[in-house]
């Protein structure tokens, strides 16, 4: 080194190296700055475009949320999922298309995706949810929010995948502490309105708020007039009413707010309705299978088996069922008595009951399953079950509602299934095969020689035990019948038609978890013995069948209207309200008459002696059974009156047919309004009646006393013993 430094000929080499180094560094710096200068200027340009897109995409989401919440509040949105799929996606596509038009040549591409696993306003947890719009309404603290992960691409700049989270929300909290103060009326209400980042929402006036309360006098939800609104800072407002809202109605308010962006959110001051169901059947009986399928209607009305239940707490005003989408309702019941705290969720479903004009009469009938997205209205009923095991007398019921607007209808565990191909409904207690116009026979119902008995389009119900073995299947249940075929075969004219099955809700996916509904609306009759015996005269039939899960019973409501009975008919004998075939399987039968229970065994002697036996003055039930299987038909007071309404009690009969027409053992139980062994009877045109028959399915018995279970449970179907409702309130 020393040699190199002091070598006189090396000094230029050192200088040259230094200059070359400086040159390389300089060139590198200048070339770099030349390249980046170009990039810097381009960045400036698309930065502003991206900024414009980002900011105003938030505005587009605002518009979407405002539109959705407004339309949902007014009931114009039937399905949120559909709205998001079509309207929201359409709006976002328009926005992308318009941007592509404005920034032509930039290659604008937008993508909005839902943001999962997040919190809204530090309160509402969103899990694995695909919804961009999330609203939690109908509680005392509610929010309407929209949140999307926006991805921006400007492909002509080589700019891909810029992500930003856009979130907007409006939150409304109602101070419900006034309810506990037990005031006689309220004049004002405090609310807090906030928006994203928990910023207070200010500048709202009385036109931004709407309060509705249930007016028992007008039986409707009325708007409370807001005289003025005071802003107290921090998003807190006091709403002053022009007229005070009296007790107890101030407990049940709905408050909505619309902010300057047009976003709406809705609060409720109560979140459930609670009441007690009191069993009224006689004590000292086994009640383990005494499970009632109840219906809750608007304005504190409850029904069981067509009977409006008595509200024994008449002084207590029942909280109204709120007008919210019906799919949000849920029901909890106690299992060990009203005082216990062992609440369990009860399967529930939503139905439409309406007055239908049928032959100039308004009949209150079930139309089908409700539109799950429609607000609860006066036609709707919530159906749920309450059991009374171990002789429990009182059980509590709580009807409450989900706050998430995306909540589906109740679809929890159910034992109800429907096979539409084979037209078979299954519960954990029984199986029903629907026989009718399309499905004219059941392979479980045959002549002794093995030939399947064809019903030629007669609408009937084939009942089976869940095991499904033919050993556990008796014959079909005919819901109405008239006359004799060729003077010998019974009930020639039976309702002809097809069962309309109501099992799926309007969305086509959600199923009825409590009971399947089958409706028959028939104007024709058919003979099961002869395919060519068909007529549109005689009578019309409207029948509703309830295939109910978790219980041993099935209920059929039947309405009959008589047209002209043709004059050329030679054998107008007998009117049946029920004719339940046995296929020779049952060994014993029993029925309750006006004073006692009569039971006997079937005497399956060779046909035709005897074929048909009649017993006078049937009462509420009849049954037939063997060692494996049994079933009983039960009617209530109203149906017994209908039975006796045609020609009086003297022509009513419980009857059995031991041999089937064409040979073979039968073993039926039948309920006749006009006995077929008496004189001829032609019902006058215009004759009308209706009746309800419950069928109870059980495990049968070893001897003539195998009817005990029917004798024990039939009381629960009688009007006198219908349960009672005791209002507890709501909160």
């Amino acid at each position: 080194m020393r040699k190199l430094l002091f070598n006189k000929r090396g000094q230029f080499i050192v200088i040259a190296i230094m200059f070359i180094s400086i040159m390389i560094i300089s060139v590198t710096i200048f070339v770099y700055s030349t390249i980046t200068q170009y990039r810097y200027q381009r960045w400036e340009e698309y930065l502003s475009v991206v900024d414009n897109i980002r900011i105003n995409s938030g505005e587009v989401l605002n518009i979407a949320l405002a539109n959705f919440t407004n339309q949902f509040l007014r009931g114009h949105v039937k399905s949120k999922t559909e709205w998001e799929a079509y309207v929201l996606r359409g709006l976002l596509s328009s926005w992308e298309r318009d941007l592509q038009k404005i920034y032509a040549g930039m290659g604008v591409d937008l993508d909005f995706k839902a943001v999962k696993n997040r919190l809204i306003a530090s309160k509402w947890r969103i899990g694995d949810d695909e919804h961009i719009i999330k609203c939690f309404w109908y509680g005392s603290d509610s929010v309407s929010s929209i949140c999307a992960n926006l991805s921006i691409t400007l492909s002509s700049y080589g700019f891909y995948g810029y992500h930003t989270i856009l979130e907007e929300y409006l939150r409304l909290q109602v101070d419900t502490s006034y309810i506990d103060m037990n005031k006689s009326e309220i004049q004002l209400l405090n609310v807090i309105v906030t928006k994203e980042n928990e910023n207070p929402c200010f500048g709202l006036t009385n036109s931004n708020f709407e309060v509705i309360w249930f007016n028992n006098e007008t039986n409707s939800w009325d708007e409370a007039s807001i005289a003025n609104v005071t802003y107290n800072g921090g998003g807190c407002y006091t709403l002053n009413f022009t007229n005070p809202i009296p007790k107890p109605y101030y407990k049940w308010l709905f408050i909505s707010v619309t902010d300057q962006r047009g976003i709406v959110t809705l609060c409720s001051t109560y979140s459930y309705i609670e009441f007690t169901v009191k069993r009224k059947t006689p004590e000292g009986r086994v009640t383990d299978d005494e499970i009632y399928t109840l219906e809750a209607g608007i304005n504190g009305t409850w029904y069981w088996n067509g009977v409006k239940l008595h509200n024994s707490s008449a002084s207590a005003t029942p909280p109204p069922i709120p007008p919210i989408p019906i799919r949000l309702f849920r029901v909890n019941v106690t299992e060990s008595g009203a005082d216990s705290d062992d609440w369990t969720i009860s399967p529930c479903q939503y139905e439409v009951w309406d007055k239908v004009e049928w032959h100039d009469r308004l009949i209150d009938v079930l139309r089908g399953l409700a539109d799950i997205n429609s607000p609860f209205n006066s036609s709707n009923r919530i159906v749920f079950q309450v059991g009374f095991p171990n002789s429990i007398v009182n059980q509590s019921v709580r009807i409450w509602w989900e706050t998430d607007l995306d909540a589906p209808p109740y679809q929890g565990g159910t034992d109800l299934e429907y096979d539409s191909v084979n037209m078979v409904a299954k519960t954990n207690r029984y199986i029903v095969e629907f026989i009718g116009k399309k499905h004219t026979n059941s392979s479980d119902y045959r002549y002794p020689n093995g030939t399947i008995i064809d019903y030629h389009g007669v609408a009937a119900l084939m009942m089976k035990k869940p095991e499904g073995s033919s050993a556990f299947c008796f014959g079909p249940w005919n819901i109405h019948g008239y006359g004799k075929c060729n003077g010998r075969s019974l009930a020639e004219w039976r309702p002809f038609g097809e069962w309309q099955i109501k099992y799926y809700y309007s969305d086509g996916r959600s199923k009825a978890p409590v009971r399947l509904i089958a409706i028959l609306n028939s104007t024709e009759v058919q003979c099961v013995y002869n395919a060519s015996h068909h007529s549109d005269a005689y009578y019309d039939t409207f029948a509703i069948v309830f295939i109910t899960a978790n219980v041993k019973y099935l209920i059929v409501n039947t309405y009959v209207y008589w047209e002209e009975v043709p004059d050329d008919y030679s054998y107008p004998y007998g009117v049946w309200f029920a004719s339940v075939m046995g296929k020779g399987e049952p060994k014993w039968f029993a029925f309750q008459n006006q004073t006692e229970v009569y039971s006997d065994y079937y005497d399956y002697l060779p046909w035709p002696d005897p074929t048909h036996e009649e017993y006078k003055y049937p009462g509420y039930w009849a049954a037939h059974w063997n060692e494996n299987f049994g079933r009983g038909i039960i009617i209530n007071d109203k149906s017994l009156q209908s039975l006796q309404s045609l020609l009086g009690i003297d022509r009513t009969r419980f009857s059995i047919t031991e041999a089937m027409s064409g040979g073979g053992e039968q073993g039926s139980i039948e309920l006749e309004a006009v006995n077929c062994l008496g004189s001829a009877y032609r019902p006058p045109a215009g004759t009308y009646y209706s009746y309800t028959v419950a069928m109870w399915m059980y495990d049968g018995g070893e001897d003539e006393n195998g009817w005990q279970e029917i004798g024990n449970y039939y009381v629960m179907f009688l009007e006198t013993y219908s349960p009672e409702i005791i209002i507890k309130g709501g909160g």
Binding site: M23, V27, V31, T34, Q41, E44, N56, A66, W95, G262
Partner: protein, 138 residues
């Protein structure tokens, strides 16, 4: 020999400097000018939008107020002309020029900055407005 080396080294240095001078050309000042004006124009529109007044002026067609707002926010020596279109390309401020400055400057200048800005809608209504702002230094 040393003199020759010195001369050769000097040549190398001069050549290197000359080479650098030829390849490094700074962008012309006009490019900076347009870029700055675009940035300025975008910032002004963004500021008005953030305050909520841009939407109000545009959807209420308050062209006079919009002109005044731009005049206040832009430097006095920057001339502007703003056109507002709907999504179909219809000029909405036809007959009401939102402008300031000498028109001849726009026609004569080669370096006019142009900023596009979009407003998606107002009052829960999707109804886009496209704003095209032209800027030139007077």
């Amino acid at each position: 020999m040393r003199v020759i080396e010195t001369i050769l080294a000097s040549f190398v240095i001069v050549f290197a400097m000359s080479f650098l001078n030829t390849i490094v050309i700074s962008p012309p000042s006009e490019i900076y000018e347009v870029s700055d004006l675009e940035k300025l124009g975008y910032n002004v529109l963004y500021e008005l939008d953030s305050q909520g007044v841009l939407k109000e002026f545009v959807y209420n067609e308050s062209w006079g107020n919009l002109t005044a707002a731009l005049k206040i926010l832009l430097p006095a020596n920057v001339y502007f002309s703003l056109d507002v279109y709907d999504v179909d390309g219809t000029l909405l401020n036809q007959g009401y020029p939102i402008a300031y400055g000498d028109w001849s400057v726009f026609s004569e200048s080669k370096y006019i900055a142009s900023v596009s800005y979009i407003l998606p809608g107002t009052d829960s209504r999707y109804d886009p407005r496209i704003l095209k702002l032209k800027l030139v230094r007077g």
